[in-house]
Subunit: 338 residues, 2 copies
């Protein structure tokens, strides 16, 4: 299935030097993918020339004069930068010229602009950010990762529905299991938010597993783990910090002495296989779920290899019918509640 | 300095088989430590006999007929089991017979009983649970880990004060830095709870660093990281899950093929040094802070090596003047606020 993706080429720590080669790689692998490269024409064309590429039937450059800085507040970025690369990329989705867009830029601005331009799907109050994470059994999806710091129980139910439909649409998994993140699995545990959300989830028609705890994320207990954006953001960033610390320690141990350096050489293929398996770049690309359009956020520090995964996620979602499925499911819930 | 520790010998997944040998080991290493072993006399004496030990001047057995089960609800355990090993151990602290107590038992029951028997320190509304975690720079303290799922901003300030005094008393560190866990470091980030808590912390006389994010825990950005019990519990358990997944993956990679098994043999001393460095047993022993007595909670699954660290933490806190320091600091804050 042909898919056109709008790519914010200016976002992230490395801009066009990362986004342009990643786009070219995805197009090389998949002849049915077309890209619209959005941003400062000069910067993009310079990068294309460096890579020996040029615009053509499947590759278009769309000039956008402004750039939203990584530390800019979302509200002024939305209000004042009408010609930013993020805004123009999201506009292309709204206008139907692209089936999805990808950005490694300012998360808050991407969310604010996407919400303003695309609006939310019927029945969805607030979009949420979901990402795939590796587990002992394969992978799971965690949401929300920070779009919503104050949630009502109804929002958590909507997050569960959206992400459940994402998993069934993109991974062709029937009735994915949904867990609600709590600090214990017994009914008496937790705050009022999760207790009420659990009641609503039980009545929602979701394949609701019940409460899960932090360690269940990486055990892969459920296909989807739902929490509010504060908790999800802390869980994700704590994981990043721990993984970085362990990687540093491992590197240090393998360089302590002559013996450990030699052991490191012998073990290198094994260590590399291990690193490859847990490479966070393979999980790059968070979905802004609940919008009337597909928007994927790449980690700001992603390299071209990582950014490719974010583009691929946008392509996969565009080829699924996730938005229609969320709409149908939310309508069914509203009907049964009415 | 002589210290007597009351040890709940029945708690945890392994009971006396873990708690008794751990107590003997600590006494062997430190001639100034005395232990009161609390629980079913028969079970404790059987374990002492197996280890060739007997009660004496530094070792006493205190019979307690009941045991709080690991999955028992705290309220009935507090109300009905007046002769549980947890209750008797905490009573010994209250009566001044022991300077601290340690339990690997039911966390909720230990907290409820400790709070009822010992009461909170002046100026402290609620006790919190704090643990030490390894970081890139050494270690940090995280609290609360689950005692308080609904916190007011004032509670987070008290957590900061208590843990700051713990670090300065036990580690002799002047004015430890305190970070408030949030989902961004900018002032506009976060929910109302952290925003108000940050204002109060700035005015509290704490060495307040400002907001930190999840990855700052393991970077070791601050000496203390404060959050509510829901968030802290998720951060801690997510870390446990990730560490277990990575350990499993590493083990699997080193057993894939004949070559990887050989590489594993060569790298074994290095891998063991790495595992040793991040061994969670070395960080076992969470402090129930804010009580008029020292109570330490061991992980329920701890082995004797891990339980020793929990006892050692209780000894270290008993030798410090952490309770007096918390009281003085809280009085100063109340005076300046009045």
């Amino acid at each position: 299935m042909d898919v056109t993706v709008a790519i914010d080429c200016m976002g992230g720590d490395h801009g066009a030097q990362v986004t342009v080669p990643a786009a070219l790689n995805v197009m090389r692998r998949d002849p049915d993918v077309s890209c619209i490269l959005v941003g400062r024409r000069e910067a993009i064309e310079r990068e294309l020339a460096r890579l020996g590429a040029a615009p053509g039937a499947r590759l278009r450059v769309q000039h956008a004069a402004e750039v939203v800085e990584m530390d800019e507040a979302p509200a002024p970025a939305l209000r004042n930068k009408k010609d930013s690369s993020i805004r123009v990329a999201v506009n292309l989705v709204e206008q139907g010229e692209a089936a999805a867009c990808v950005s490694a830029g300012n998360t808050g601005a991407l969310m604010a602009i996407s919400r303003f331009v695309l609006k939310t799907l019927p029945g969805i109050d607030r979009p949420a950010i979901a990402t795939m994470l590796p587990t002992l059994k394969g992978h799971t999806y965690l949401l929300d990762l920070g779009a919503n710091v104050n949630c009502a129980p109804e929002h958590l139910v909507q997050f569960g529905v959206m992400c459940s439909e994402l998993v069934s649409s993109v991974e062709h998994k029937e009735r994915p299991t949904v867990g609600l993140l709590n600090i214990g699995v017994e009914d008496i545990k937790g705050n009022e938010l999760v207790k009420r959300a659990a009641e609503l989830m039980r009545a929602s028609g979701l394949n609701f597993h019940g409460y899960v705890e932090g360690d269940d994320i990486y055990k892969g207990t459920t296909d989807v783990v739902v929490c509010d954006g504060f908790v999800g953001n802390v869980a994700l960033k704590t994981s990043e910090g721990l993984a970085q610390m362990l990687a540093t320690y491992l590197r240090e141990e393998f360089s302590h002495s002559l013996f450990s350096r030699l052991a490191g050489l012998v073990a290198l293929p094994v260590i590399n296989a291990f690193k490859d398996r847990v490479d966070p770049r393979r999980y790059n690309g968070a979905s802004l779920l609940g919008l009337r359009g597909i928007v994927v956020k790449s980690h700001g520090s992603a390299d071209a290899f990582g950014f490719e995964f974010a583009i691929q996620r946008a392509v996969d979602e565009a080829r699924s019918s996730v938005l229609a499925h969320i709409t149908v499911r939310m309508a069914a819930i509203h009907k049964s509640a009415a």
